[in-house]
Structure formats: C-alpha cells, structure tokens
C-alpha cells in the first residue's frame, strides 16, 4: 500500500508519513480529517522492498531520525503529534 490521497480543502502539499500501528499517527490522521484538509498519507510499515526504500529516502530528507508521525505541509516539517503547530501550518487556527 503506497500513498493514499484523502480529498478535502486545498491547503497545498500535505503529506503524512505514518505507521499503521502507532496511535500518535492515528491522532494526526484524525485531526487532518476533522479539519477537512486534503492530504496524502502513507503507512510506511505496510510497504516493502523498493517502495519502502524510496519512502525512507524521501522521509529522511525531511526528518533524518525517521520517526513517526512526520507531517510535511508545504515544506514545513512537523514531527510528532503537535496539534497547535499542525493547525498553524495549515492556516486553520
């Protein structure tokens, strides 16, 4: 399973790197849905082989520690579930 697009209000490029087993990732996804923001998300733990390697390379550029959740909003990187920072990056205070 690669990147999944979720329709919603356009806030630019919004990508969530997540793990399917992680509750902070789930909270981040729930927040994005609640805010109704269009975004892509990907469960890195459900990928393998070349796809996983590609995603890891991509994530490393934003977050060298490769931790989850990592949310990238138009180039701004938010590591961990930080509600206020996520809202302000999305411009929905």
């Amino acid at each position: 399973m690669g990147k999944v697009h979720v329709d919603g209000q356009d806030a630019g490029d919004v990508t969530l790197y997540a793990l399917s087993t992680c509750m902070w990732c789930k909270k981040t996804r729930d927040l994005l849905s609640k805010l109704g923001v269009g975004h892509d998300y990907v469960y890195v733990d459900l990928t393998s082989g070349a796809e996983r390697a590609g995603l890891i390379d991509e994530l490393r550029r934003f977050n060298p520690d490769l931790t989850f959740p990592t949310l990238v909003v138009n180039g701004k990187v938010i590591i961990g579930y930080r509600e206020k920072e996520i809202k302000s990056a999305l411009g929905v205070m």
């Binding site: 087993t21 992680c22 509750m23 931790t67």
Partner: protein, 162 residues
C-alpha cells in the same frame, strides 16, 4: 488479524503487571487499546512485540531495545512523564496532575542504555550481578532470570553489571 478478545486480555495483563510494579498505564483507555492492538499486530508480524510507534527492522537482535517495554521507557517516564508511545505514564500524568506532552525519540540520538553501563570492577563477589536494561533491577545469581520479576523483560535483556 488481532481479535478484540486478545486486545482485552493483553490490556488486562499489562495493567496488572504495571500496577504491581509501580508503573501506570495511560488512563485514556481507547488510546491504550489502540497501542495494545499495535503490539499484538507487531507480534503477529515479527514474532515479538516491537514498539508500535517505531519502525522495526524485523530482525529480533536489532530490535531488542524496542521490544515493549523498551530500554527507553523509564528514562522517558522520568523526563517527560510518559513513554514514547504514551502506553505508560508517570503517576502525576495518571492522576491528571500533569498533562501528556510529546516525547522526543531517544533511540539513536544518544548512546543506547545498552552501551552506557560498563562492567564495574569489583572482585571477590561470590556471584555475578546482572542488570535488567529495561528497569534496572539487579540480582546476584549464576545466570539472569528467565523473566525480569519487575518489568517482565526476557533474559536476553539483561547485562552483566558486576
């Protein structure tokens, strides 16, 4: 697939173990049930309960430090009031006196606790002393116990301390 019954069973066991050893599970039950499901999912995938909030390598020896409870739990509880996933919280957080806050990843950033403890040079002991890398429990016996009596970590998580 992990069944609801399995999740409930492990939740009860973890809660009982935690309370009997002076630890506390996060009082947010639905959040904790999600973490417990993640632990069981990882057990199905890898054969061991790797931390649900970290990306395991899938090789047990490489993931030993992040088998739940991980080597970082106690330090994070002391410093941030919660473990990285917030499965375990401090007494103050459990009682609602402190708020839960994000815990930065400790793994990899500093030398792991595995490598921090050098073997002390004390001679003349009648038995070797073993240290649990998860909770710090010490015991003097020929071999470490099969399971840590405090935090239930397995024998392979012990190191020679003296």
């Amino acid at each position: 697939m992990v069944s609801d019954d399995d999740v409930e069973r492990l939740y009860r066991k973890l809660k009982e173990d935690a309370e009997s050893a002076g630890y506390h599970l996060n009082p947010d039950r639905s959040f904790v049930m999600g973490i417990v499901r993640g632990l069981l999912t990882n057990k199905e995938r890898f054969g061991y309960m790797a931390c649900p909030c970290r990306l395991p390598s899938g090789v047990r020896e490489e993931d030993l430090d992040i088998i739940c409870p991980c080597d970082y739990r106690d330090q994070d509880l002391t410093e941030y009031g919660a473990c990285y996933c917030a499965l375990y919280v401090s007494e103050r957080v459990a009682k609602g006196l402190d708020e839960l806050r994000p815990v930065p990843e400790r793994r990899g950033s500093k030398p792991s606790p595995q490598k921090q403890t050098g073997e002390a040079k004390i001679t003349g002991l009648s038995k070797p002393v073993w240290r649990c890398r998860v909770c710090g429990y010490l015991c003097a016996r020929d071999e470490p116990p099969e399971v840590c009596p405090i935090c239930k970590a397995s024998r392979e998580r012990f190191e020679r301390f003296m």
